[in-house]
Symmetry: C2
DNA sequence: CGAGCCTTTGAGTTTCCTCAACCTGAGTGG
DNA sequence: CCACTCAGGTTGAGGAAACTCAAAGGCTCG
């Protein structure tokens, strides 16, 4: 379970101690929220199974999806600085998470130095990933963004033991669009165009990456 | 100096111990880089004075600025997960940074628990800020992005004791554009338009925010 | 089996980009 | 001291990319 709930790189004993951290689990049904922006942060969450999205809503109602999160990933870290959640987390399908209480985290990390390091690394990784998204949103064109998205999903899924070439998107076109800074129609059109070009096969949310090299070319070639 | 180099919230003794961390300082002249992407990470850096930019260059040569960094901010945190820098850091003007060696950080944080917390909070804050940029790039229009940028700069500068309404931009139009996902001409046009609308005065890189409420309206009104 | 949501596709519009010319100010050498 | 140079900035015209609006088709779930 340690494997599922926090990344590897810890000793067996450490893992045992870790398990005291994550006794509590919570199920989140599709469409339900795990936490909401502004709520006091009591814990962070490691996903056991299922897919979640994190998103922020602006005053005027526009919303932006800040991430899609797969099993093994930890969410809620963005709220640690203010001790309140900085985004909403909603399940895209039925999911289960391990609850890592902040108090336990505090007390345990003094007797378990590697834990703090683990968290530093986790957070640093999230910063890097966010910065990759900044590049994507800031300097890529629509088709490059979508290609990058597909490759990213592929890599993350394969790292978790799923097929890297064939998978089910758990999110709608609109959610993909929000994540990529595009409108849902644009996403739909691009999927169609990719399929027409023989790069992918797509039927509803089921995707098959046919020509991975071709997909990567979409965003690695300069214009 | 503790004030300048790491955020407050620590006891006097802690600050004293802290100072052992930051004995070393480095000057970076305008245009020079403090670190480059891919270099092994030996330290993170707290800015004492000057402005730096962090940026990433893609294989095809396109570059994206991921942040502008003012005195008091800590940079290099994005490299902690892989222990190598995830971006370049370049001085926009002559600057000086405190060097916080990773080894010292490790050894000191075991005897100084509040330090780890400090860093967790720093990193969490960076995640939140990156996510604000994701919203900006993903769901705002050009003029909204620029207005948000001006307000952000204003707030950060005033938090550091500078004027909130009148300041000098240390970066070029092109750099602002890269940061905001716009072309330099678009940035220039928008500055002109803002000035024409009486929201700001701008002369080269010297900006004066005349109608702060009006500027905020630019990005808070739904269309 | 029907309702509602998601998706696809088309047509027209808007926004921002590209290309190009010109301007400005700071630094340089005659 | 002044003309020159060059990087950075402004402004205009035209075009491309993505958005908006609209309509129709397909899934899913009760």
């Amino acid at each position: 379970m340690g494997q599922l709930c926090l990344p590897v790189g810890m000793s067996q004993q450490d893992l045992a101690k870790m398990d005291t951290l994550v006794q509590e689990r919570v199920r989140v049904h599709k469409g339900e929220t795990l936490y909401r922006m502004g709520e006091p942060l009591n814990a962070v969450y490691a996903i056991r199974f299922g897919t979640l999205k994190t998103h922020v809503t602006m005053e005027d109602g526009r919303t932006q999806i800040t991430g899609f999160h797969l099993p093994g990933e930890v969410i809620g870290l963005d709220g640690l600085s203010e001790m309140q959640h900085a985004s909403d987390a909603t399940a895209l399908e039925d999911a289960e998470v391990c609850v890592v209480r902040y108090d336990d985290l505090q007390s345990l990390s003094s007797i378990l130095p590697s834990l703090q390091g683990q968290f530093l690394r986790l957070m640093s990784k999230e910063i890097s990933q966010d910065q990759v998204m900044l590049i994507t949103l800031g300097s890529m064109r629509a088709e490059e963004r979508l290609a990058a998205f597909l490759v990213n999903m592929s890599e993350r899924l394969s790292a978790r033991g799923y097929s890297s070439t064939e998978f089910v998107l758990r999110m709608s076109r609109e959610e993909i669009g929000s994540y990529l800074g595009l409108k849902l129609e644009t996403v739909s059109r691009l999927f169609s165009r990719f399929a027409e070009a023989g790069l992918i096969q797509i039927r509803q949310r089921h995707v098959k990456l046919v020509d991975m090299a071709g997909i990567k070319q979409v965003y690695s070639r300069s214009c």
